[in-house]
C-alpha cells in the first residue's frame, strides 16, 4: 500500500460489555463508566463516512460485539459499502443460527480468540467457562464456509505451548493464526509481572512459529507479534499515529488507537458531533503525533524515525509520564532502563493475576 496518510481500517468498538474478564484486556480501566453506546443509525453513518475516506476494512470488535442485537444490521450496512467485514469475537454468546444470519448479511471473516490450548488454562485466564464453546464457534465458522482467524494472546503462562496452539489452529482449519504477545498497556500493565515472559521463553516460541509459518505457507497464515519489551527498536504502533487506522469507541470518540484517550492534554472528538472526515483531517488529537514534527531527540535526528515513527505514544506516557518521550522499548531511549528492569523482573517469580473488573 502507498505512503500517503489515508485510513484503510476502521476499528468499530461496538460495546465495552463483555462476559469475559481477561487479565490483559485492552479496554479502558474505567470501562464501566462508558454506558452510552452509539445507536444503529450513527454507526451506519460512521461506516459510510469512513468508506468515503478510503476505509476498506472494518473490524467489528469490543468488548464483545455480539452483545449488540443490531449486529446483523451493521454487517449488512458494511456489506452494501463493500467493506471487508471482520468480526472479532470471544464467541460468547453465539449460536450457530445467529452466525448463519451474520454470514447471510455479508460477514467476511470471523476472528475467534482463545486464551490457551486447554479448557482449564484458557478458562482460568478468561475468568469463566468458555473454551469448549469457542472451539464450537470456530467449527461453525468453517462449516458455514467462512475464513477463520484464531487469535491467542501470548504471555509467560502460555508461551511454552505455542506448538500446541499451532496444532490446534491446524485442527480447526484456521486460515490465519495470530499469536500476539501481550501489549503492556491497561490491564496488562497492571499485571505485567505476572504476564511478561523471559527472553529464553520468547526465543523458543518465535523459532517454533517461524518454522510453522514456512511449513504452512499458502494454507494458514501464521503471524507472531513480538513483544516490544524484547525488541531493539519500538514497533511502528498502529502503522503510525493517525495514518492507517481509525478507532471509534463504543460511545463515539474517534481515536488513532484504543488507548489514545488515556493520554493527558489531547482532545478527541465524538462522531455524534462532527463528521468523521473533518475529525480525521482537522482534529487536534489526530494531528498531535502525525508525521515527525512532534519528535524530540533522540527521535528527531534518528535515521530510523520514518521506520518506526517514534514507537508507541501510549507506552511512552504510561511508563515515563511523558507522551512525547521516545518509546522506552527503543534501546536508544533515555528511559530504556525501565524496560530492562522489567525484563530482569521477568526472571523472578510470576505475580498473581488480577482480573479485569468494573472497579479496581
Amino acid at each position: 500500500m502507498t505512503d500517503e496518510i489515508r485510513p484503510y481500517t476502521l476499528i468499530a468498538e461496538l460495546s465495552y460489555r463483555c462476559p469475559l474478564r481477561c487479565s490483559y484486556c485492552s479496554n479502558p480501566l474505567d470501562w464501566a463508566r462508558h454506558r452510552d453506546e452509539l445507536d444503529t443509525a450513527t454507526w451506519l453513518r460512521v461506516f459510510r463516512e469512513a468508506e468515503e475516506l478510503g476505509v476498506v476494512q472494518l473490524n467489528l470488535t469490543g468488548g464483545e460485539p455480539l452483545v449488540r442485537d443490531d449486529l446483523e444490521v451493521l454487517v449488512g450496512g458494511a456489506r452494501s459499502l463493500e467493506l471487508y467485514t471482520n468480526l472479532i469475537t470471544s464467541g460468547i454468546p453465539l449460536e450457530k443460527e445467529r452466525l448463519g444470519k451474520l454470514r447471510a448479511a455479508g460477514l467476511d471473516n470471523v476472528q475467534v480468540s482463545v486464551q490457551d490450548v486447554s479448557a482449564e488454562a484458557s478458562d482460568r485466564i478468561a475468568g469463566m467457562r468458555s473454551f469448549d464453546h469457542k472451539l464450537e464457534v470456530a467449527r461453525w465458522v468453517k462449516e458455514l464456509g467462512m475464513p477463520l482467524t484464531l487469535n491467542i494472546v501470548l504471555h509467560r503462562g502460555n508461551l511454552d505451548r505455542v506448538g500446541e496452539m499451532i496444532a490446534l489452529a491446524e485442527r480447526l482449519s484456521a486460515d490465519r493464526l495470530e499469536l500476539a504477545n501481550t501489549q503492556y498497556l491497561g490491564w496488562a500493565l497492571i499485571n505485567r509481572q505476572a504476564l511478561l515472559p523471559t527472553r529464553e521463553q520468547l526465543e523458543k516460541a518465535r523459532a517454533i512459529a517461524a518454522a510453522a509459518k514456512r511449513r504452512l505457507q499458502g494454507r494458514m497464515e501464521v503471524l507472531f507479534v513480538t513483544p516490544d519489551y524484547y525488541a531493539e527498536y519500538p514497533k511502528t504502533c498502529m502503522d503510525g499515529w493517525g495514518r492507517r487506522f481509525i478507532l471509534i469507541s463504543p460511545d463515539g470518540l474517534a481515536l488513532p488507537c484504543h488507548a489514545a484517550h488515556t493520554l493527558p492534554g489531547l482532545s478527541f472528538e465524538n462522531v455524534r458531533e462532527r463528521p468523521l472526515g473533518a475529525i480525521w483531517s482537522d482534529s487536534a488529537g489526530f494531528n498531535a503525533f502525525r508525521g515527525e514534527d512532534w519528535m524530540r531527540e533522540p527521535c528527531k535526528s534518528c535515521e530510523r524515525r520514518a521506520l518506526d515513527l517514534g514507537g508507541c505514544r501510549c507506552q511512552a506516557f504510561h511508563l515515563t509520564g511523558d507522551a512525547r518521550a521516545t518509546d522506552p522499548a527503543c534501546k536508544l531511549a533515555p528511559a530504556h532502563g525501565l524496560i530492562e528492569s522489567a525484563r530482569t523482573e521477568a526472571l523472578g517469580t510470576a505475580a498473581p493475576l488480577r482480573y479485569r473488573a468494573a472497579k479496581i
Binding site: M1, T2, R6, Y8, T9, E52, G54, V56, Q57, E82, Y84, N86, D108, N109, Q111, G145, M146, P147, T149, D175, R176, Q217, G218, R219, M220, E221
Partner: protein, 309 residues
C-alpha cells in the same frame, strides 16, 4: 576458489525449481492425479534430453579420464541393456502413476513449452565451452535433498502410486551427490579467469531457467486457478484501482492483475486466462504468461488462490 562455489551456490539456489508452485503443490500433496501424471509425462521429455546433452559434453573433452567419468552419466540414463537405466525407470514410474507407457515414450503429448525449454538446454550445452557446459549441470548440487523430499512426499501424499515405482528418485539421491561433486570440482579447476567464471555462472542461470520454464508450461496447461472465498475484489476510490481484500490486508492491483483475478473462477486453465488477456491487451503472450504465473504465485503464497481443482 570457494568464492566461485559460493557464487554458483547463491545464484543456483535462488532460482532452483524446488520453489516453483508446481513443486510446492507436489510436495504438499496437493496435486490432483492428472496434474501429477502430466508432470511425469512432460518431465520424461527432459529425461530423454539428458543423455544427449551429456554426450555433447563428452564430445567436447580431449581428456580420456574426463570422458570415462562423464560417459558414466550417459550409461546411468540409458542402462547397459534394454529395460535398464534411468529412462527405463522413468517409464516404470509412468506405469506407476497410471499412464500408457507407449504414449509417454513417444513424447507425442509433450507440451510445446516443455519441448522448447528442454531443447534450449541441449542447444545451450552444444553452444558453450566444456567448462560452461559442465557448470550448467550443477543445479542438483544446490538442493541435494530435493529427491529425498520428493520420495517422502510421494509416499505420504500419493498412496495410489506404487512405492516400488519410485526407484528412479531413490537411485538419484546418491548419484546426484556424486555427480555434482565431480562437476563442481571440474568447474573450480578450469574456470580460472573472471571471464570464464562469469560464463559458468551465466550457464548455470540459463539451466535453472530451463527447469523453471518446464514447470511454468505444465502449470499453465494443468492448473485452473480459483480465487479463494476469503478474497474480495473491490474498486479503491483513493487509488482509482482495483483492490483485493482479505483478512486485515489488501493488495492494490494494476489493470492486468485485476483482469487476471477476475478470470480465476476455477473453470479456466492458466493458459486459457493468458489467451484471453493476450487478446484483450494485444501483447506478447510469453510476457503475459510470465506475469500471470508470477501474480498467481504471490497470491497462492498468501492463500488467496486455489490451484488444485
Amino acid at each position: 576458489m570457494s568464492a566461485l562455489i559460493e557464487r554458483l551456490r547463491s545464484e543456483g539456489e535462488r532460482r532452483y525449481h524446488d520453489k516453483h508452485r508446481y513443486h510446492v503443490l507436489m510436495h504438499e500433496g496437493r496435486l490432483t492425479r492428472e496434474q501429477l501424471q502430466q508432470w511425469v509425462l512432460n518431465r520424461y521429455y527432459y529425461q530423454t534430453r539428458i543423455p544427449i546433452k551429456d554426450a555433447l559434453i563428452v564430445s567436447k573433452s580431449e581428456d580420456p579420464a574426463f570422458r570415462r567419468m562423464w560417459l558414466r552419466r550417459v550409461r546411468d540414463h540409458d542402462g547397459d541393456a534394454e529395460g535398464e537405466g534411468g529412462l527405463a525407470m522413468w517409464l516404470r514410474l509412468a506405469d506407476g502413476v497410471g499412464l500408457e507407457r507407449e504414449e509417454v515414450a513417444s513424447c507425442r503429448s509433450v507440451l510445446p513449452g516443455v519441448r522448447a525449454a528442454c531443447d534450449s538446454y541441449v542447444e545451450l550445452v552444444r553452444g558453450r565451452s566444456l567448462v560452461e557446459a559442465v557448470a550448467s549441470s550443477l543445479t542438483e548440487f544446490f538442493a541435494p535433498d530435493l529427491m529425498s523430499r520428493r520420495i517422502a512426499a510421494w509416499e505420504q501424499h500419493y498412496p495410489w502410486v506404487d512405492p516400488e515405482m519410485l526407484a528412479y528418485f531413490r537411485s538419484r539421491v546418491t548419484r546426484a551427490r556424486r555427480d555434482s561433486e565431480e562437476a563442481i570440482d571440474f568447474v573450480v579447476r578450469h574456470a580460472t579467469t573472471p571471464q570464464l567464471q562469469d560464463a559458468c555462472v551465466d550457464a548455470l542461470i540459463r539451466k535453472a531457467e530451463v527447469l523453471w520454464k518446464l514447470l511454468d508450461a505444465v502449470y499453465a496447461a494443468y492448473v485452473k486457478p480459483k480465487l479463494a472465498a476469503k478474497a474480495k475484489l473491490r474498486h479503491d476510490r483513493v487509488a482509482n484501482k482495483m483492490m483485493l481484500l482479505y483478512p486485515e490486508k489488501g493488495l492494490v492491483l494494476n489493470a492486468t492483475a485485476a483482469d487476471t483475478v477476475q478470470l480465476c473462477t476455477g473453470e479456466r486453465t492458466v493458459r486459457e486466462i493468458v489467451g484471453e488477456l493476450t487478446a484483450k491487451y494485444n501483447q506478447d503472450s510469453a510476457i503475459i504468461e510470465r506475469e500471470v504465473i508470477a501474480l498467481l504465485a504471490s497470491l497462492a503464497e498468501r492463500g488467496l488462490v486455489q490451484e488444485s481443482a
